[in-house]
Structure formats: structure tokens, C-alpha cells
């Protein structure tokens, strides 16, 4: 009568009965400005966005935008990544005024908003996560993309949160339950089962 598998299932059903889901909104003006300028630039480009020249400009920015919305990073890593991308794109745009004179102003507006992120010292996503994460409880941060997890683990190693796990949503298919599960990003990024078959009490 000592099988832990059944006990795990009992816990899971108990949790699924008492789950509450809370949505937390995070304000990050500098990131918001960058996202808006990038979206505006997409609108200006129209079909040109599929051209190789602009793809090389847009893809690193889209990846950075997603990364900053999907996971918290170490400040040094985050700033280094932003400045590397900014430098590379600055170089990429050196002939833009001759190739696309109508678009160069919009492109540099995007770069300016990217540089604005370098000057923003605060990290509202990390601040909110730390506010929600209790050191005494078994907490998990669910990260949409597994490639981001090692970078988040580097951050967590410096935070002294021994009970915190960084997981991919697919890991929530097994029977492991948490006291608290924090899904980082909009709910549409995650499989429906993260919310319909919860592995924690408050999400």
C-alpha cells in the first residue's frame, strides 16, 4: 500500500479542484515603446518585410522582443544582448538611406527605441515574478520557449530560491504538482491544459 504514484494522483485531483487563476498585468514603458515602434515599422514595410534585406533587420528584433516578454534575464546578459543587436543593426542600416530612402527614418526610430531599452534600468517582469514567488513554497515558472530556460536558470542561480523550478509547459503533462505555477506570457502561448488541468493551486 505504499505506492507514491497513487498519492501523486490524489494530490493532482485535490489541486485541480481548488485552483484559482490570476492574471497579472506588467507595465514596462520602454519595452512597450519598442514593441509599438517595431509594429509600426512592420505596417510601413508592408510586402517589403519579406525582402531579404529587411528580414535580416527584423528577425533579430522580433526574437529579442519575444525573449524580453517571455522570460526574465540577468541584467548583464540582457543589456549585452540588446547592445549587440543594436550595433549589428546599426551596421546593417549603413546603406539604407540609398536603398530605401523612404524607410530609413522609421528604421532608425526602431533602433532608437531599442537603445531606449538599454537606458531603462528597471525590469518590471523580474520584479513582479519575485513579488509573486515565495521562497518557502514549491514554485515553478513556465517559460514558453525551452531555448530561454538556461538563461533563466542562470538568473535563478543568483536569486537564492532553492524551491523554484524553471519548466517548459510540456513538462506539466506529468504528475508533478506545485504550490504555485507562474506562466510567463499571454495565455495563448501555452497549451490549454496548463489552465484546464492545472498542476498547481494559484496560476
Amino acid at each position: 500500500m505504499t505506492d507514491s504514484l497513487f498519492q501523486e494522483v490524489v494530490t493532482l485531483y485535490e489541486k485541480s479542484v481548488s485552483t484559482t487563476i490570476t492574471r497579472h498585468r506588467i507595465e514596462h514603458p520602454a519595452l512597450g515603446k519598442f514593441c509599438v515602434s517595431l509594429n509600426n515599422f512592420y505596417s510601413e514595410l508592408g510586402d517589403l518585410a519579406n525582402e531579404d534585406y529587411w528580414q535580416k533587420f527584423l528577425i533579430p528584433l522580433k526574437r529579442l522582443q519575444f525573449g524580453l516578454c517571455a522570460a526574465p534575464f540577468l541584467k548583464d546578459y540582457r543589456l549585452k544582448r540588446i547592445s549587440t543587436i543594436a550595433d549589428e543593426l546599426q551596421h546593417h542600416l549603413q546603406f539604407c538611406s540609398k536603398l530605401y530612402p523612404d524607410l530609413v527614418g522609421y528604421a532608425f526610430t526602431v533602433l532608437d527605441s531599442l537603445n531606449g531599452l538599454l537606458n531603462a534600468s528597471e525590469d518590471p517582469l523580474l520584479d513582479k515574478l519575485l513579488e509573486l514567488t515565495s521562497a518557502e513554497q514549491k514554485v515553478a515558472w513556465a517559460i514558453k520557449e525551452s531555448r530561454l530556460i538556461p538563461h533563466v536558470e542562470d538568473l535563478v542561480a543568483e536569486l537564492n530560491l532553492s524551491k523554484l523550478s524553471i519548466i517548459h509547459p510540456l513538462q506539466l503533462r506529468n504528475l508533478t504538482c506545485y504550490d504555485q505555477l507562474i506562466a510567463i506570457g499571454p495565455s495563448r502561448w501555452f497549451p490549454e491544459s496548463v489552465f484546464t488541468a492545472p498542476r498547481a493551486q494559484p496560476n
Binding site: M1, T2, L5, F6, Q7, V9, L12, Y13, S16, A197
Partner: protein, 327 residues
Amino acid sequence: MADYLPHLYYLSSDNKAELLPEWAYFFMRLGQQLSALPNDNHRVVIGLAVPTRVFACSLIATGIMFTRVGSQSIVNSAQLHFIRNLKPGTPIYVHTDDNRKLRGVIEEFKIVKGEEWIFIRTGKHEVFPRPLSRFASRITVSSSVSSLPEYSGGGYATEIPSMFLQCCLGEELAQTYILDSSFEVLLIGKKSVIEREVSSEFIGCKTSDKVAEIPGCLQEILRVRQFSGANRSYRTQCVSSFNITPEKEIGKQVPPFVIFDGASAYISLGHKWRSAHQIVLLDRTERQVVDAVELLNQNYAYRLAGVSSLSEKIPNGIEMMAYKESI
């Protein structure tokens, strides 16, 4: 026996024996209710969306088994008298639970634990001992002369019911239960996962004096053929959801109940065994759950009627649909 469910316990995280939780009894009672439904040229399909599929299929099958075990036929005294007076060597037919007719000869009659048993030889190494009072109704005398191949006389060790099974079914019924083979339930899913669940010794049954829990596993009740030793009697069979020709493994026999343990099992084999009642377990975390729900909804559109007789309260976290389908 139809409504009978023994008090089953599990060991909680603080090492206390506690009654199985509400959801576990829900699955068992669902199995019981389904097996008690009349079979009037239709079948019942039950779809369940659960937070995890673990243990759901084995508990439903256990509920079915508790009802089926109680529905064994009672013999009238004239038939009993007739069979008792047949001589050893008389060729007979034995009618099994699944309406098969086995050919055999009467080997002998014996008194076991104060009860009269008939030993029927059906093959060179196969002898089926059965309690005569409960089994005589299934025996008819063959009009043709039956001949069976010579046998070496090696025999086999008779299985003894475990304490857990005796606690669940009672000593007398447990003895009959382990000797009889019948195909009551077919489980379709990942075989290794189902085997792990049914073989896990998480469950216990309390004796009538309520002193201690007797540990056991669901395999003792389900008796899944694929997880038992060779030549053991069985009640349940299990096939993999990836097996595209399950008939090769289980034969052409149609079980009364089929449980699909997961979306992929239903998608790949849901069209088979049209006359069997179906229970479809959908784990919400599975990749193919949306496809399986769509398939279930498509079939629901062609339903005969709903099922009003399943009155069980559904625990939180579980969703259920049930409908009748023409065979």
C-alpha cells in the same frame, strides 16, 4: 452484488490508511452503472475528460468487474442432479461467459472444502475445476463422441486466491473467480503504463473485523491476461493503441466493454468492436486530445439518445458525456 463495492483504502502521504478518494469511487461506480445497463440493440459511449488518465481506466474496469462477478448464474436442482449423475469421460460442452462453447470431457467429481467440484478436461494439459452448484447450468452433454489427445498426466498447481481478493469478493466467490476465464473488458492504451498501474500495490481492503488493511493491487481483480503468467485464468485483456491488428492478439471475440485509455487509443481503434460499450478517457494534457474530442463529437451527432440512467455526481475537475449509439 450489483451495487457492491468493498471499502478500499490507500496509504495517504502522512502514512494513514484512508478510504479511496471521491474521484476513485466515481470511476468504479461509473463502471458498475455501465455494466448494469440493459443491452437493447444499442451501445453506450461515455467520454471523460480528466486532469490525468492515470488509474482512471483500471478503476473503471474494476467497477465493471465487481458487477460482472456478481452476475454468475444460479443452477436449478434438476440440472444439478442430471450433471452429477454423468459418468467421468462423458463428452460435454461448456458455455463460457462470452458465449463460446468449449468441448471437453468430465474428468471427475471431487469434494473441495466441503463443496462439490467438477473437473473438466478440455485439452491435453487443460483441466478446468469448477464448483458444480454454480457451474452446472453452463454444461450440456455433447451428442457426438469426443476424443481428446492423450496427456502425460503432469497437471498443474492450482492457484489460490490472495487475501486481498478474498477480502474484496469473499472467500467462496474469490475461489471461483480465479479459476474462471472470461473476456469482460478490453483495455486499450500504453501497455507498460497500464501494467504499472494495475500492478502497483497502492490499495488495501479491510477485513470484517476492521483490524488491518490487506494490501493488494488491481491486477488481482482485473486479471489482465497479458500481465499474468501463461495458463492463468483472465477477465480482462489489454492491447496497445498502436496495434493496428488487435484481433491477432485477442482473437475475434468481442468484449462487452472497451476502455480507451487516452486520445490516441480512441483515434486509432475507436471504430472497432461496434457492439461493445465504450469508455473513452481523454487526458487534457495529451497532444491529440482535441482530435479525439472532435471525433467523439462527430459520433455524438449520430447518437440514438442520451443516457439518463447514469446518476452519479461528477467530481470537480472531470467532464463527462454519455450517449447511446446503434450497433
